[in-house]
């Protein structure tokens, strides 16, 4: 495959998108247990709030954040045709995503370590 920053951004966007869709369907199923009442719901939810899942949650956050910011970059290109600033925009997306993952992930890690 022809390797450029554009290609990396595209592959990451696709990959996070697919992961998020699969997660979404799973999420609808897990939350759907609410119709069976509080006991079943709390049981399901406890199963997905173990420390391992909390770490997976940070990965999920990274996927959402990257996909969202890269999507905003795409909207900017679609509407304002900013093709000459393309490298700057790619790096801006990577950096802002990394910062947000740290900003959101550190509280989750701390919370997980506290409640252990």
């Amino acid at each position: 495959m022809y390797k450029t920053t554009g290609f990396v951004s595209f592959v990451l966007r696709r990959f996070t998108g697919v992961v998020l869709v699969l997660y979404l369907l799973l999420h609808i199923w897990v939350i759907g247990s609410a119709v069976s009442g509080p006991e079943v719901f709390d049981q399901r939810l406890n199963a997905v709030q173990t420390p391992l899942f909390k770490i997976a949650e940070i990965a999920l956050l990274a996927a959402v954040v990257y996909h969202a910011f890269d999507g905003v970059r795409l909207l900017l290109v679609n509407w304002f045709k900013v093709t000459d600033k393309r490298k700057n925009l790619f790096w801006a997306v990577f950096i802002v995503s990394a910062l947000m993952v740290i900003a959101g992930g550190v509280p989750i890690l701390l919370f997980m370590l506290e409640s252990k």
């Binding site: 869709v21 979404l24 609410a34 939810l45 905003v72 909207l75 509280p107 409640s115």
Partner: protein, 108 residues
């Protein structure tokens, strides 16, 4: 063209809904259980917001999945079958999700 437009419109809607979702439901991190969620979800305004959120995210995600799959020549031969699968999955997911959202009530 329609898929492109759906993607862009739902993307903008999701920027709003996702921000709300992240702030209201997940920040700061806390242990989530039924009693915390039900307080919010019995409110009909929240029910409407969540249903709209669900609709946007399913449209965006499933149309995106369709585009990803039909991009590859090996798969694009089955375009019609894929479209059917995606539409059915969307209807099922939306129905089950909406039913769940409407069913939130304080336990007896």
């Amino acid at each position: 063209m329609r898929i492109f437009q759906i993607q862009r419109v739902t993307a903008v809607a999701l920027l709003v809904f996702m921000t709300i979702h992240m702030i209201v439901v997940h920040y700061p991190p806390f242990h989530i259980d039924f009693s915390i969620i039900v307080e919010r979800m019995v409110n009909p305004v929240w029910k409407v917001v969540e249903i709209l959120f669900l609709l946007s995210v399913l449209l965006h995600g499933l149309s995106g999945a369709y585009v990803v799959l039909t991009d590859y020549k090996q798969v694009s031969k089955f375009k019609k079958a894929l479209a059917l699968v995606v539409i059915v999955a969307g209807i099922v997911a939306f129905s089950w999700g909406t039913y769940t959202i409407i069913s939130w009530r304080l336990p007896a």
